[in-house]
Each structure stands twice: as C-alpha cells, then as structure tokens.
C-alpha cells in the first residue's frame, strides 16, 4: 500500500490551475524529494494532503485516510513543517513542544519526556529553557523537526525545510532529516527547489512543473531515463587533437559519443572511464593537459524538464 496517494488531484484558484490532475504515489519508508520551481504547486499539494485546503476535484489519501473527509486521522499520523514555520516566541522551546504534545492527547508526564528526547535528537538540549525569540532561523528549523518527532508520526511532510538558513545550517538540517529517516523508518516527503539538497538525502524524486508531475522515480532510474543512459561527461584538453585519438577513444566500451571542440574533447559515457581514456591517449601518442569529470546531476535532468516546460 502507498502511504501517500493522490487521484487526479486538482486545485484551481479562479482561472489559475495550481495543481492539475496530480497522481502521486509514495511508498512507505521512502525519502521522497518533491522538486519544482516556485509556483509549481508543491505547497498547494502538501496543503491538500493535510486537509488544510480543499481540492477542487480529485482526492488525496494518507495511509488510506481521505485527507478532506478524515483530516484528524491524517493529522494524527502526519508531522508537518510549513514553509515559514513559527513558534510562540514568548514561550521556551520545551514549552512549545509540550503544547504540541498536549494537542496530540499526550499526558503531561509523557509530553515532558518526549520533548526532552526530541530536543536531544535535534541537538538543542541546552536550549530547552530558552525563549524561542532568541533562536536563529537554523535553530528554529531544528526545533520544527523536534516538533514533529514529538508526535512520532508515520510520515513527515516538510515544505522547503532549508529555506532561509545558512549553508552550515542547511547541512545540519538535511543530515538530521536523513538520520531520523534511517533510525525511525519514517516516510519523509520533502519539497524543495534546491536540487543538491534533494540529491543529498532523497532516494525518490518527483518533479512538479505547472501543477503536473513530469517525472517520478528512483534517482538513478530517472537520470538514466532522462539522459538516454548518459551518466558522465568527461572533458579533456590536449596539446593537439588528432583523428587517431578520437577514433581510439570511441572504441572504448561504454563511450557513447565524442564531441570535438577547438579547446578539446567532450566524451559522454555511461560509467567513469577516466583511467581507460587516459591510457588510450597516452598509447596513441597524445599529450593531455587537463581532464575533468562531471557526473550528470539531477540538475541537468531538472533543467532539461525546465526548458521543455
């Protein structure tokens, strides 16, 4: 069974269609990266999954519960970090968490215990008694992670969890999410328009463009599919380019194409063939000045979809 499933989910605001017949499926235990540029409909989809807004048509299910008709069942197993997450500034971190715990029906004793544990996990044990107004953006984001841990959800939905924090904070938050996913086997849905972040921790991605899902699948699968098997691009500079060298490289198995340019050669291949290519060049009598490898990142796939629109 899929933990998240949407059926022709559509949301219209007046004439604008924010989400257009979305059929999304997320399996239990996945770390799902929900990619798309600003305004692609990521947040709207998330709001519909949580019953925070009603779909115009279609339906969304979380763990088999209809998000519009049974929002309470959905919310009791779902942790949500909104894009601009806020806390009660005049309360301490621990008080904020205990409030969430009490809203989830936990007894006071259990609420205090879980709050302390959650703050430990996110690395804020010493900030427990400090007012949230003293927190940096990065600390608030980690507190938001603690806030969902406290209800021990089956699935966590995070809307741009890294927006507005510094690079070091981003790494901390991402590693924290990855660690939690690994330790608790929680399903995680994370939306982002930052590719490398999704790449860093997600195993599955869905790319949303103008309210439609344009690509969805495992990360490697997706890149193979999208780029026709090309995985790596190797750029080399030579003192002199001869036809013999080009022919020799073409014969290495795994090389898909060789492009020649005034400055050097660009080789597309399905695996990392640097040693073989270097050897071939030396064998053919060429002199290599520089060699660079670039793995096809999700970015290229993403940009490809971007351009095709």
């Amino acid at each position: 069974m899929f933990i998240v499933e949407t059926k022709d989910l559509t949301k219209k605001y007046g004439r604008i269609t924010a989400v257009d017949g979305l059929n999304l499926r997320i399996e239990e235990g996945d770390i799902f990266g929900f990619l798309g540029p600003n305004g692609a409909g990521k947040t709207t989809t998330i709001l519909m999954l949580l019953g925070l807004t009603e779909p115009t048509s279609g339906s969304a299910y979380v763990a088999g519960h209809n998000a519009t008709r049974e929002p309470l069942e959905v919310k009791s197993i779902t942790g949500y970090i909104p894009e601009k997450v806020g806390f009660y500034e005049d309360l301490t971190a621990a008080q904020n968490l205990v409030y969430t715990a009490r809203l989830n029906g936990l007894s006071d004793g259990l609420a205090n215990k879980r709050a302390a544990e959650a703050l430990d996990i996110v690395g804020l044990p010493r900030a427990a008694e400090r007012n949230v107004s003293e927190f940096s953006r990065g600390m608030k984001q980690r507190l938001a992670v603690a806030d969902i841990l406290i209800k021990q959800p089956k699935i966590a939905i995070m809307d741009e969890p890294t927006s507005g924090i510094d690079p070091e904070g981003i790494v901390q938050v991402l590693d924290l999410i990855a660690k939690i996913a690994k330790e608790t086997n929680m399903t995680i849905v994370m939306s982002s328009h930052q590719l490398y972040q999704v790449q860093r921790i997600c195993n599955r991605v869905g790319i949303l463009m103008d309210g439609r899902l344009v690509a969805e699948g495992l990360l490697e699968e997706l890149s193979r599919e999208a780029m026709g098997g090309v995985q790596f691009r190797i750029e080399i500079k030579l003192t002199e380019i001869t036809q013999a060298i080009v022919e020799a490289i073409k014969q290495i198995s795994g090389v898909l194409s060789v492009e020649q340019s005034p400055s050097g050669l660009t080789i597309n291949c399905s695996e990392d063939l640097r040693p073989q290519i270097a050897k071939k060049i030396v064998d053919t009598g060429g002199l290599m000045v520089e060699m660079k490898i670039q793995s096809y990142a999700l970015e290229d796939i993403y940009l490809k979809y971007f351009r095709e629109g």
Binding site: T43, L47, L50, L52, T53, E54, L72, E73, K75, S76, T78, G79, Y80, P82, E83, K84, V85, G86, F87, Y88, E89, D90, Y99, T100, R102, L103, N104, G105, A144, D147, K151, D159
Partner: protein, 325 residues
Amino acid sequence: MRGLVAIFDKELADYLISWRGIILFAVALLVTVVAIYGPAGALVNIREQLGEPTQFGQTQFVFLNLFTTSGEGSYAFLFFITMFIVPIVGIVLGFDAINREKNSGTLSRLLSQPIYRDTVFNGKFLAGIVTMAIMLTSVVLLVAGLGMRSIGVPPSSEEALRLFLFLALTTLYGSFWLGLSMLFSVLFERVATSAMASIAIWIFFLLYTLTGFIPNAVANMRVPLSDTPATQELIRYATVQIAATRVSPIYLFQEAMYVLLAPGTRTATEYLQIYASGAEWQPGPLPLSQTMITIWPHLVTFVAIAAVFFGVSYYRFTREEIRST
C-alpha cells in the same frame, strides 16, 4: 472536543501573564477607583441619601447605589463599565486572536495537529471569557469592599444576588465584544486592520449612544413633529427614537443593567407607557423576578447577535486555506 483544554490552558496563561493582561487589569482597577473615589465621588451622594427619608422602600437597595450613582465630575461605575471598560477589554483580548497566529506561522503548525479548527476558536474564546470574568469579579469585589468600608452598609442577600447576575451578564456583554473582535481577526489578515475595525465599531456606537444624533434624525424623519405637537404625536416620536437608540448594543445593555442594579428604574418604553397613561405615580422597586422579565428581551438580543458573530467566524475560519506565508 479534543485539544480544547490544552488550547484553553495556553491562551488563559497568555492572557493573564502577558503584558497585555497586566495592563488591562491595571487600567480597569485604576478606572474603578477613580469612578468610586473621584474628587467629588459617588460616596458623598450616597451618604447624603442615607439620611433622607425612606420612599417606596428605596433604602433597601442603598448598597447597589455604589454602582449606579455618579458623583460630580465623574461617571457612575456602571456607565464606565458598559461604555468603556468592557468593550475595550473584549476588543483587546480578541482582535488578534487568529490573524496573529496566521502571520507568525504558528497557525499552520497548530492546525496540522489532530484537532478541529473550531476547537482553536472555542479555546481562545473561552479563555477570553474567563479572563474577563476574573477581571470583572475582582473589580466588582473591590468596589463592594471599598464601598462597604466607606458607607458602612453591607449588601442584602437580594443585592448580592443582583450583583452576581450583573457580573454574569456583563461577562456575556464582554463576550459580545470579544466575539466581534475575534470575527475581525478571522476576516482581516492584518492585525492592525482588525484592531482598527473593532475600535471603529465601538467608537461609532459610543457616539451613537452619547450624542443621540442618529436616533433623533430617524425619529424626525419617521414622525415629523408639528410646532405644537399633541401628546400622541410626542409618544409616537419617542417610541421611534427609543427603538433607534436601542440599535446600539451599548445602550441596550446599559438600559438592562440600570434596571437590574437600580430596581426603582424602568426601561424607556415603560416610562413612556406611564407617561402616556397620564398617571402621576413614581414606580417603586421591582422584585428580582420582574426585573428579569423586563430585561429578558435585551439579553436574548445579545445572545442572538453573538451567535451570528460566531456563525460567520466559524464559516470563514473552517473553510479557509491556511498557508504559512
């Protein structure tokens, strides 16, 4: 009602511990003391009354005079409470209830917990009512205590009962203002807008009640008086005028409370009937049951208006999209 207790606890603590709560209490107490112990305060008048001969058993309600009598250069406690204190407290407690949480991004988090949206609204509303009840009770007890020391007359059991009813009904009146300002906090995104809207409505009705300009204009339009008006004409004129004045919730409540706390007074309609009948008698104090019957329509009107506020707030709030931006 899952989560109601949690929300109620948090909001009540917010109201009572925050600067907002402390300032409200301070202002209410200050105004109370000024109203009672003003330079030419009500106490002087009441002491003078004590010496006057009893008429229609008036003296049995001497203690309640503390709340309804005004001194020279000051207003009666009841006037202060209904015109200023209760509306302001109700507005201050509610004007940012929902939109502040929306703006600070806590509402998204709150509503992603397994609770119904109306529970959030109800929890905040209940906390506001309890805060007002605590505040009004302490103010009334303070006035009663100071008054008792000064005039040396304890309240009779009926007076105590009337005071208790006054407290309960004033809390209802306060929840009317609380409901209004909370409605605006649902309707308007910005805290400043909802505050201004609530205050504008209060000032409008304040001036409406104090100046009587609009009721007079309405009456002039409906019943144009001739130069030498007949009694019947005057009565028709006054009837329209009273009805128009009662559009103001402030007047409506004040009238009911004067009847409750000063059992010798009547509603404007009844005074008009006495006048129309040509009788020359002064009305005596009403028993409590009759007082309640007299002010019952006023109270029903209040509950009805509050219900409308609630209905509109619920409708808007439960269907709204909660986006955290």
